[in-house]
């Protein structure tokens, strides 16, 4: 453990910057494209990208910024989150993720060891996801101008021909599938917050889902929608898709898996697990004939073992999500309006 910290000089572009990039970023993230040290990475399109008579090659691209606090949390850190978040955005479009960029804004005074841990974590996650970070940037700002580390990413991927996945494609009769238990990431983060003082036995579910999506598409290419229920939780994501597709969605509350500890903290603080963030789950909307094959493929995969059908798409109540409660009544499940705050009443 060293006492070294990031100085403003590390962002000046001079020798210190080059040393930092070499000792941390190239050391962990290095790959042939990144190692050229040019201002931009240049690579040929893979053969599968060649235009076909009926199916033009398509690229998918996404961008995101990561400002999570604390930067280390049970089950992950801001680096892992950055890679997973970007990879997952691409995967939700049915794309095979290829390359990421990573821009770092570092706060003066950030411990070197912390930066190294974050970057090592990114490298590890990128390796699992089969992606490479091929371009990057580093800036250092005054103490107080950033909360230790901010990370911005862009991601690029390849969408195979015949894949048409969009939040607008849900059709009445489709089945809504959830890949596993909800609430883990949101609650893991919250458990680190000062003043709430509870010990949470579970971890963030942060994970790259491109492998899971590939397995699902192989089982049945006719997947209509994919989305990961991050900020705003499952409820918000379902509402987004219902609105985009102009359909109604009905969900059976008893089918939604919620870990006991997640439920416990939610009961304690007056929160609803359906609005808590997830960083390693996906919602898939598929035609009914694809349900069995897709579920089966998901359950064979480490990130989909507890995949379950939770509801269906309907013509009733268009653009609204309705929840059937354990008592058999129906109520509207709206999207999150503001942030969920713990309450005592």
């Amino acid at each position: 453990m060293s006492d070294k910290t990031i100085l403003l000089a590390h962002g000046s572009g001079g020798r210190l910057t080059h040393d930092l990039i070499r000792e941390v970023f190239y050391r962990y993230l290095g790959n042939p494209l990144l190692n050229t040290r040019d201002d931009a990475a240049v690579w040929p399109l893979p053969a599968t990208c060649e235009p076909l008579p009926t199916a033009p090659a398509r690229l998918a691209m996404t961008t995101d910024s990561y400002v999570v606090q604390p930067i280390f949390f049970p089950g992950g850190d801001i680096g892992k989150l950055a890679v997973c978040g970007t990879v997952n955005d691409l995967a939700m479009a049915g794309a095979q993720p290829l390359y990421l960029t990573a821009g770092f804004i570092l706060e003066e005074g950030l411990r070197f060891d912390d930066l190294e841990q974050v970057v090592a974590s990114m490298a590890h996650t990128a390796k699992e996801a089969g992606v490479a970070v091929i371009a990057g940037d580093t800036k250092v700002v005054d103490r107080g101008s950033a909360d230790r580390i901010f990370i911005n990413t862009a991601g690029v991927g390849l969408v195979p021909p015949g894949i048409e996945i969009s939040g607008a494609n849900a059709r009445p009769g489709d089945v809504v599938i959830l890949s596993g238990p909800v609430g883990l990431h949101g609650l893991a983060i919250m458990s680190q917050r000062e003043g709430l003082g509870f010990s949470f036995p579970l971890q963030s579910d942060c994970a790259p889902l491109n492998g899971l999506v590939a397995a699902m598409l192989q089982a049945d290419a006719h997947i209509h929608c994919l989305r990961d229920p991050t900020r705003g939780g499952l409820a918000t994501t379902l509402n987004e898709m219902a609105a985009q597709s102009g359909v109604g969605i009905e969900i059976q509350e008893t089918c939604i898996p919620v870990p006991e500890s997640v439920r416990a903290v939610c009961d304690l603080l007056g929160l609803d697990p359906l609005y808590a963030a997830n960083e390693g789950k996906l919602v898939s909307i598929v035609p009914p004939e694809a349900e069995a094959r897709v579920l089966n493929a998901m359950r064979q995969h480490r990130y989909g073992r507890e995949a379950v059908a939770i509801g269906q798409v309907t013509t009733a109540h268009p653009e609204r999500v309705v929840l059937q409660t354990p008592l058999g009544a129906h109520r509207i499940l709206d999207m999150l309006s503001g942030a969920q705050l713990p309450r005592i009443c």
Binding site: P70, G144, D147, E194, D267, L327, D334, P342, R343, C345
Partner: protein, 401 residues
């Protein structure tokens, strides 16, 4: 989870519902006094499952909802004072006051903290002035303007803040009914025992039986029965509700918050009404005794004395609020930090008062779901997650499902 899951059993719920359907012959209006009950009822969709003869109305049991705008302004004004850390339960952070509270200048900008981020806040910065353009209409806005507003789960966390920040004044916003007041009282005793000199409480605590009387005395609503607040009654005891059958001839069933608890209470009320035998039915016996929690009552009364309090929508009610006793004047934020606030004013068109009195249901207010929504609430009934209007919006009542 033990002692929770069993009280959510759907088969037992169906049996209770069948019984209610079977027993209920005459139309009845039952008031769920407590916001927590409103929440539970709407979340499970219970209203749809009850027979049309049983009508549930939401009462003023939401301590946040009944906080007057003057009291919210008072809290904001304290938060804006230099050197103050305003510690509050999450419930109060977004409640709108009158919108006219400005920070005094100059203001030293202190460490910021918002509920969305962890304790690693931006480093402290001292500046000479903060622009005091518009007034702050909530504690959240005050924080955006530089006030140090921090959310806590327990008063004890506020005590810890005081110990950790000896040069700052930690003011705890005491909101809540008899369930919460003893916990705040215990914290005050702890602060005094430790000789903590920088911990203060602004007491906005209120008492529920007086409010219930005020609603019944106003006479604008015909109520057949009351679903009594379970956790308040844990403290004050089931006997505290005897005045309902004795003085008003109205039955009361003390209810817990799980679906079976609420259904059992509705069942008891229907039974008592059908038989014409109003009484107090303790349907939360695992957590409620006739005499309540005597230790908690003792602690509460040793620290607080009873006085008049202003209830939003109900006006000033005598002997309905808790104020710090003289022995604790040194910890009383109201005395130690005098500030000027405007008298309460209801925003134009806001009918929170009528909602709180059960005179109208949220959808009958012209502002509901239009000008008044959770993202931009007009009155507290929409802001508090427990408020009748917010619960209606969240769970879709008032819109056809």
């Amino acid at each position: 989870m033990k002692y929770l899951d069993e009280f959510r059993n759907p088969e037992a719920a169906q049996r209770l519902l069948a019984r209610i359907h079977h027993r209920s012959t005459q139309p009845v209006r039952l008031m769920e006094f407590c916001g927590g009950h409103t929440h539970a009822i709407l979340k499970t969709g219970l209203r749809q499952l009850l027979p049309p003869t049983v009508r549930l109305l939401s009462g003023p049991g939401c301590p946040v909802c009944v906080t007057s705008s003057a009291d919210v302004d008072h809290a904001i004004a304290l938060a804006l004072l230099p050197g103050v850390i305003l510690a509050t339960f999450g419930d109060m952070v977004r409640v709108p006051g009158s919108g006219g509270t400005s920070p005094p200048t100059p203001l030293l900008m202190t460490e910021k903290m918002s509920p969305g981020e962890g304790s690693r806040s931006l480093a402290a910065r001292m500046t000479g002035h903060v622009s005091s353009g518009e007034g702050c209409s909530s504690l959240q806005e005050a924080r955006a303007q530089g006030a140090d507003v921090r959310m806590v789960y327990s008063t004890l966390d506020a005590l810890a803040m005081a110990r950790a920040n000896p040069q700052r004044s930690v003011i705890f916003l005491g909101v809540g009914f008899e369930t919460t007041a003893p916990t705040v009282a215990a914290a005050i005793l702890q602060a005094q025992a430790e000789g903590l000199r920088n911990f203060y409480v602004l007491s906005l605590h209120k008492l529920t039986p007086p409010a219930t009387r005020a609603i019944l005395d106003a006479g604008k609503v015909q109520l057949s029965g009351i679903i009594g607040p379970g956790h308040v009654t844990t403290i004050i005891g089931a006997d505290a509700w005897r005045f309902l059958p004795d003085d008003y001839g109205i039955p009361c069933a003390i209810a817990g918050f799980e679906p079976l608890d609420v259904l059992q209470a509705v069942c008891s009320l229907v039974d008592m009404i059908e038989r014409g035998t109003p009484g107090v039915s303790n349907d939360y016996a695992r957590n409620v005794r006739s005499e309540g929690n005597r230790v908690a009552q003792g602690i509460m009364h040793s620290v607080f004395r009873v006085g008049a309090a202003e209830w939003r929508g109900l006006g000033s009610i005598p002997d309905s609020g808790l104020l710090l006793r003289d022995e604790y004047a040194a910890l009383d934020a109201a005395q130690q930090f005098p500030v000027q606030v405007r008298p309460s004013q209801e925003p134009h068109g806001c009918r929170c008062g009528e909602v709180l009195r059960g005179v109208i249901e949220p959808p009958e207010c012209a502002l509901f779901a239009r000008a008044c929504r959770p993202e931009h609430p007009v009155g507290p009934c929409m802001v508090s997650g427990e408020g009748a209007c917010a619960a209606y919006m969240q769970y879709g009542e008032g819109r056809n499902v």
